[in-house]
């Protein structure tokens, strides 16, 4: 006699419901259901049968479930007693319960010893019914989810066609959808080459291993499942790829297990095929899967028909619509072929990765139409530098690539690169206006690996940019390491604010003749967990490049304003100012205005106490948009300072153009002030200029009392530097700000 808590079966059912409904899909629900039934009823073995099919079983050794005996037990009369064999236990009596309401699914429970009593039978029936519902729900949900995804995918393609998105983009979307919906490893859309109808070219693909990609970019029409689909104009299904007469030995060797291809048409004519394939064995393409592929292939047909003429189509799929140059796909094809030809020779192939300098400001300030014209002129100029056998392509944006075949020395590539740099640098005249752009070029040479060569050239190009633009750089292996290091730093930088690794240091700005505190400049520091304290010079360029500067800049403004408010609240002088640096990239950000306005209002500080510093070099690349943004900032009530004033070559030009309130004299003018009067003239000029324009001047980098005295004598109003105080954390400068310690008029003379 078993003794049980009164609530036993209710409790078991509650657990059971939670177990089968918390899993992700019907298969897991079946497994959880069978196991929980076994646990609840202390069963020796439990099986779930769907019709003739065993869905899941437990209690029999793996692979030894007696399916026939279980089937017989399910089919037998309800009243008869039935047994099934369980190894180690012999024949064990069973109890069964209907799962769901369709009458074809059963839970079969085998238990030695006491037969189940009325409560246990009731519990089993309830669990079986619950399991049926849960599995039905899972199946409905997953079917709905699939259908939903298909509908979304198809409408995505429709939208892309309707919006006349570039064909290669539409084709990529189609290929991606086919791979996703059918759950295959590879998908490709291949088109017959109008120039050579006996071959197929891959117009878009996904999931093809890189080592195979180069070799199957172009294939003969009489090989492969895809070729057969085109030649026979019908769906071809190969569930055992290796055994198919159309299999390509290359893919058989790579272990491809199954493939399926559907023809693609334009106005009734076969022009190519959509192909999916998988490396997983045992995959079967159900009639529903086959219909899906045909449906998606029809979408591809629509997209192609929409662009009307076949030759145009293929040309369009492989060329950049703006410049008419080959696009990335065709460049890859040509590069792969060039590498194949090189295999049998001692010569090499060179890839030049060309990126324009200063294109973005041109595009932003003069508009996209002018930008497009510039790109067309550059494309013509690059093409004009090449031999017949070379290929130039536009990879996208302001990126171009050049392929040089059969070169014997790297010097041939660097010579050509210099020619391209020189010709691109010549002024471009558009609507009577002179536009200047430049080119930075990375070069990689080799005999194999198309993608690899292009990537190496890209890395070298990056180095050329970093080295000062307008030059070419040959790839060196160490660049890969540097790129990785940069990537690492970028990843670390991304989380730096979240991990509270950023801190603002503050440096005092003093009134030179009285020594009184005037304000502070906020300076960013990064407490790197391994590198220690990192100064802005080491990470701001990276932050600018990656756009992280927007978030960092936002944090700096918010933090500085809150700090200023805190000091005001604690009794600091009302006219204490806070100087904050803005980077060039921040000035390009349309959200800058609201960022500043928000920071001011969040902290509730007086607009007049915030001074934003912009370096002179940034102002030199002036655009109408920059001036507009600066005006808008000034309209908020904040003041603008020119940082490093005097280091640019056109200092006076922009003083009229820009709304400026303060000049910060760069430290090179301060440095010689204690050396002798003859070298004071530059500093004198800047101070007088400020005075004539009514702009206060802050002298930077004052380190010695003699410099201090000389600046006072020149009539310079404000200054900062180690002589008055180094940048320090807020807590350290606080006593000085709150008047608890006098401003340091002649403190430490040493930098430590």
């Amino acid at each position: 006699m078993t003794v049980r808590a009164a609530s036993w079966s209710t409790q078991q059912l509650a657990e059971f419901v939670a177990a089968v409904s918390s899993v992700a899909d019907a298969d897991l629900a079946a497994r959880a259901g069978v196991e929980r039934v076994a646990e609840a009823l202390d069963a020796d073995a439990v099986a779930l049968m769907y019709g003739e099919r065993l869905a899941y079983a437990i209690g029999w050794p793996a692979g030894a479930t007696p399916v026939d005996a279980i089937r017989a037990a399910v089919a037998a009369d309800l009243d008869d007693e039935h047994v099934v064999p369980v190894p180690g236990l012999g024949y064990v009596p069973i109890t069964r319960a209907e799962v769901g309401e369709d009458g074809d699914a059963y839970l079969v429970v085998a238990r030695e010893g006491e037969p189940p009593d009325a409560e246990e039978k009731g519990l089993l029936r309830a669990m079986a019914r619950t399991l049926g519902l849960a599995m039905h729900n899972h199946q409905v949900v997953s079917a709905l989810r699939e259908r939903q995804r298909l509908l979304e995918g198809l409408s995505e393609i429709q939208r892309a066609i309707a919006l006349r998105e570039p064909l290669h983009q539409v084709l990529n979307t189609i290929v991606g959808l086919a791979q996703e919906i059918l759950g295959d490893d590879q998908a490709a859309l291949m088109l017959r080459d109008p120039a050579d109808p006996d071959s197929l070219i891959v117009a878009a693909s996904t999931g093809v291993p890189q080592e195979l990609e180069d070799r199957v970019q172009r294939r003969r029409i009489d090989e492969g499942i895809g070729g057969r689909a085109v030649l026979e104009d019908r769906l071809i299904v190969a569930e055992r790829y290796a055994e198919s007469s159309a299999a390509m030995s290359l893919f058989v060797k790579a272990g491809l297990a199954s493939a399926m291809a559907a023809p693609v048409h334009i106005e009734g004519d076969v022009v190519g095929c959509l192909l999916v394939s998988s490396y997983r064995h045992g995959l079967q393409y159900t009639p529903a899967d086959q219909n899906l592929l045909i449906t998606i292939a029809q979408q591809a047909s629509l997209a192609l028909t929409d662009a009307r003429i076949v030759s145009d189509m293929v040309h369009q799929a492989l060329h950049d619509p703006l410049t008419g140059m080959p696009n990335r796909a065709l460049f890859g094809d040509r590069l792969a072929h060039a590498l194949q030809r090189t295999e049998r020779t001692t010569s090499e192939v060179a890839v030049l990765f060309v990126d324009l300098d200063r294109f973005k400001p041109v595009n932003d300030s003069l508009g996209h139409a002018v930008g497009d014209e510039v790109l067309c002129v550059v494309a013509e100029r690059i093409s004009g530098c090449l031999r017949e056998s070379d290929t130039a392509a536009r990879l996208g944006g302001d990126e171009f690539a050049v392929l040089l075949e059969e070169i014997d020395t790297q010097a041939e590539a660097t010579t050509l690169a210099q020619r391209i740099i020189d010709t691109v640098a010549a002024p471009i005249v558009i609507d009577g206006r002179h536009v200047f752009v430049g080119a930075s070029i990375g070069i990689a040479t080799g005999q194999r690996g198309a993608e690899d060569l292009l990537r190496k050239a890209d890395l070298a190009m990056y180095r050329a940019k970093a080295d000062g633009r307008g030059r070419s750089v040959l790839f060196e292996p160490r660049m890969q390491g540097q790129a990785l290091e940069r990537l690492e730093l970028e990843i670390e930088l991304r989380g730096a604010i979240e991990r509270a690794e950023m801190e603002l240091f503050y440096q005092p700005i003093v009134v030179l003749d009285s020594g009184a505190l005037h304000g502070v400049e906020a300076l960013l520091r990064w407490h790197h967990p391994e590198r220690g304290l990192v100064g802005p010079a080491d990470f701001i360029p990276l932050a600018e490049e990656t756009g992280l500067i927007i978030e960092i800049g936002w944090w700096v403004l918010e933090t500085a304003c809150r700090q200023l408010a805190a000091w005001h609240g604690a009794g600091a002088q009302r006219d204490l100012t806070m100087n904050v640096n803005l980077s060039g990239r921040q000035l390009e950000d349309p959200g800058l205005h609201s960022t500043v306005a928000d920071a001011l209002s969040h902290a509730a500080v007086d607009e007049g106490s915030l001074i934003l510093e912009i370096t002179e070099t940034v102002l030199m690349h002036d655009t109408d948009a920059t001036i507009e943004r600066l005006r808008a900032l000034r309209a908020l009530g904040v003041r603008l300072a020119v940082d490093d004033f005097g280091t640019g070559y056109s200092s006076l030009r922009y003083l009229n153009r820009f709304p400026i309130d303060v000049l910060k004299m760069a430290s090179p003018f301060v440095e010689p002030l204690d050396a002798g009067s003859e070298r004071r003239s530059l500093a004198q000029t800047i101070v007088s200029l400020g005075s004539n324009l009514g702009l206060p001047v802050i002298a930077e980098g004052i380190e010695r009392p003699e410099q201090h005295a000389a600046l006072v004598a020149l009539g310079c109003e404000l200054g900062q530097g180690y002589h008055f105080g180094r940048p320090v954390p807020a807590a350290e400068i606080e006593p000085q700000i709150l008047g608890k310690r006098p401003a340091n008029g002649g403190g430490s003379h040493t930098r430590s």
């Binding site: 078993t2 409790q11 078991q12 939670a18 609840a40 202390d42 029999w60 050794p61 180690g88």
Partner: protein
Amino acid sequence: MSDALRWVGAGRSDSQDSQTAAERAVGDALQGRAAKLVVLFASEALDLQRLVTHAQRLAGDAPLVGCSTAGEIAGGGPGDAGVVALALGGDGFVIATTHVTGLAAAPREAGAEVAAALSEVAGAPHHLLMLLTDGLAGDQQEMVRGAYSVAGAGMPLVGGCAGDDLHMAATHQFFNGEVLQDAVVAVGIGSDAPLGIGVRHGWKAVGEPMLVTASRPNNVDTLDDQPALDVYLERLNAPAEARTDREAFIRFALEHPLGMARRTGEEQVRWIPSADFDSRSLVTSAEVPPGALVRLMVGDTASVLAATDAACADAVTGLAGEQPIGMLVFDCAARRAVLGQDGIATEIERVERYAAGAPLAGFYTYGEIARTRGVAGFHNQTLVVLAIA
């Protein structure tokens, strides 16, 4: 020297030198005989790698399995910071061993994999799998389900989770010369004579049941929709230090497990090895599923010792009239807390009485495995006794 068809030997050492400890414990268990299996249970206080290296040297070609403990058990009573060894040999035994690491990440797969590797012993007239696992690594019931799904109902499972003297930091498993973590070490034992298993705990449910409203494989997050840790501490009127200090909580929770109702009267006990004070959840060594009704469990010396008698009696009864020639004992570390030092001495005396002079070895565990009926083979706060005839 024995030339019997089956023999079992045991030895122990309290030496703090790993080499001496290995030589004494394994040497006494072997007594110069060539074994088919050596089982070793040892405290984390010893240099385990050195211990296992020397033990394997003594075992020769025989496979060596074992794990770290929260106390060791042998004839003569329980001990701490020592080593016990059990060896078995003779033509009447068929032995297979294997191990899998990566238990925490995929407990079900680990269980399935070891069971699949040991299916050869199923051919012997009597057989079982012994599993020694890292109880701090993942849902152990899921591991047992995995083993059961491959081995089937005809293959009993016994064993226990390794301990680390209640530090709850890291436990170790031994396989031949290696010291592993996050592992299941498994032995398939086939025998010409019966193998008997007894499983009892002796705890009783008290108070009203509580509904598990949210849980994960190794955490109970809420009970009756309240943070589980708070409900637990309140219901038990826990002392102040257990509410803030993790060590104090571990000691307190040892004596206050949760119980889940099962078909037969005795609840399945779930031990609370620790708690997450930040998320206010209870940590468990096997899943307490959402939807389950749990009750607080209490035990006293009398009920826990009564369970000892019952488990031993069940194990010996399983031998179908034959005399035991050896015993393995997997005793929950939490039972020590209830019984106290005198109580556990009494408990082992009782076990020895059932062993009737046969060699005896075992350890205090972080979870016990015993599956003779159904799938539910993972226990806590329980005594598992394996009698070998």
